[in-house]
């Protein structure tokens, strides 16, 4: 099984290193081969909202940077893992930039069978694990993040999804156990 791990830690954010290390180890222990993308080190422009990836070069953003590598890694995986420190309950901008650039993975056409979302472009989509990091408990931010991860999984057509928040005031072994528990809830 293949996992694409998108590490959205901003440059110099060492406090969340133990958490992403534990996540990486847990993925390996759960049987995944991990392809890791350290987003802060990749050249990637923000989405310019032009929709060219839907109507001009369908499925592919015409801006030639690392976003294609990342999108290709995500759609080719069995499990997409999004990790970042949380800001206001949301992904850090480092990770969000990559997510914004992924809309070409779905079709421009609408699926109105429930809450509206876009129809799939591909026959098969990965499961999704959203992992946030906080320095300590922040119940409101954690609640917003749980809803955000669920919505993102819905809109990116994930086959299965789970999310968790790792706290900077916990031990590495606790992070690992939480990651393994969350991975156990996902059946790619």
């Amino acid at each position: 099984m293949r996992a694409a791990l998108l590490d959205g830690s901003p440059s110099g954010h060492d406090a969340c290193r133990p958490a992403v290390d534990a996540l990486r180890r847990s993925l390996s222990e759960a049987g995944y081969t991990v392809e890791e993308f350290t987003l802060a080190g990749l050249p990637m422009a923000p989405c310019r909202g032009c929709f060219a990836c839907w109507v001009a070069t369908p499925g592919r953003c015409p801006v030639g940077d690392a976003s294609e590598l990342v999108a290709r890694g995500v759609i080719g995986s069995d499990l997409a893992v999004f990790f970042s420190p949380l800001a206001f309950g949301c992904w850090h901008s480092t990770l969000k930039k990559a997510l914004d650039r992924m809309i070409g993975l779905v079709s421009p056409f609408f699926d109105a069978s429930g809450l509206t979302r876009h129809k799939p472009r591909y026959r098969r989509y990965p499961a999704m694990l959203g992992v946030g990091w906080l320095p300590g408990p922040q119940p409101e931010a954690e609640a917003v993040f749980a809803r955000l991860a669920e919505h993102t999984a819905y809109n990116l057509r994930a086959r299965a999804a789970a999310s968790l928040v790792l706290m900077g005031d916990r031990e590495w072994s606790v992070h690992r156990q939480h990651c393994l528990t969350a991975l156990g809830r996902i059946k790619p």
């Binding site: 923000p46 989405c47 310019r48 909202g49 032009c50 929709f51 839907w54 109507v55 001009a56 070069t57 369908p58 499925g59 592919r60 999108a71 290709r72 759609i75 080719g76 800001a87 206001f88 309950g89 949301c90 992904w91 850090h92 901008s93 969000k96 930039k97 997510l99 914004d100 992924m102 809309i103 993975l105 079709s107 421009p108 056409f109 609408f110 109105a112 809450l115 509206t116 979302r117 472009r121 591909y122 026959r123 098969r124 409101e140 931010a141 917003v144 809803r147 955000l148 919505h151 993102t152 809109n155 990116l156």
Partner: protein, 227 residues
């Protein structure tokens, strides 16, 4: 408290020219100007790339009595450049000003017909307000933003009527140092057009753009096809 509110700053979070965010935010700014507020607009696209832009943002935000964030929803949340600006501002939170509010309000829109897609963004803006030293004055979430075509809101006729009314009410409250009333939020969240019609017109728009670009029969391409 109205005498205390003088300066407004509109932060535009859409990278597009003629965006729905500019239309909604611009209309609110005009209504606030009619009530005596002065201020300006800072588009966030590219603003933080240079030290000069970061300094402009920090100074303008600190001087504002009302900060309005107008941005679309991208993948369920504010676009990355908006988040980056929020992270920057929250990195040096403003000190409380006893007796004078420092309000933050948001106007957000999404391309899906249901305004409920904007709820997460509004909650995120609320948490940001607290982290950055603002008083959260609430926000308006507009679904089916495509129906406004990014035109000036005053020129959108019946389609924009309820949103204009919601923004009028928001301006009245903000200019008085008050939060946006629930009635305005409910009004803004009402569908601009029937869901079926909106989706039909939206999809026809994609097909028309593809026809112009000669990609009509390639719209379902899977360039990263998986085995």
């Amino acid at each position: 408290m109205s005498g205390a509110i003088h300066q407004v700053l509109l932060l535009l979070g859409s990278p597009r020219q003629g965006s729905v965010s500019a239309s909604l935010g611009g209309y609110l700014l005009e209504r606030l100007a009619e009530r005596g507020l002065t201020g300006g607009v800072l588009p966030l696209t590219g603003l933080l790339e240079a030290q000069e832009g970061r300094a402009r943002l920090a100074a303008a935000a600190a001087a504002a009595d009302v900060l309005v964030l107008a941005a679309p929803v991208y993948v369920d949340a504010p676009p990355a450049p908006v988040l980056r600006a929020m992270e920057f501002l929250a990195g040096a939170p403003l000190a409380p000003r006893p007796g004078k509010p420092r309000l933050l309000a948001a106007v957000t829109n999404c391309g899906f017909s249901e305004a409920s897609h904007t709820a997460l963004s509004l909650d995120i803006y609320g948490l940001f307000a607290r982290a950055a030293g603002f008083d959260w004055a609430g926000g308006l979430g507009v679904g089916g933003g495509g129906a406004l075509h990014g035109k000036p809101l005053a020129a959108t006729g019946g389609a924009g009527r309820r949103v204009r009314r919601a923004l009028d009410m928001a301006a009245e409250s903000l200019a008085s140092g008050l939060a946006i009333p629930d009635e305005a939020r409910e009004l803004a969240a009402r569908p601009l057009a029937p869901k079926g019609l909106y989706l039909l017109v939206g999809e026809a728009g994609w097909l028309a753009q593809a026809w112009k670009r000669r990609t009509l029969f390639k719209l379902g391409s899977t360039p990263f096809r998986t085995p």
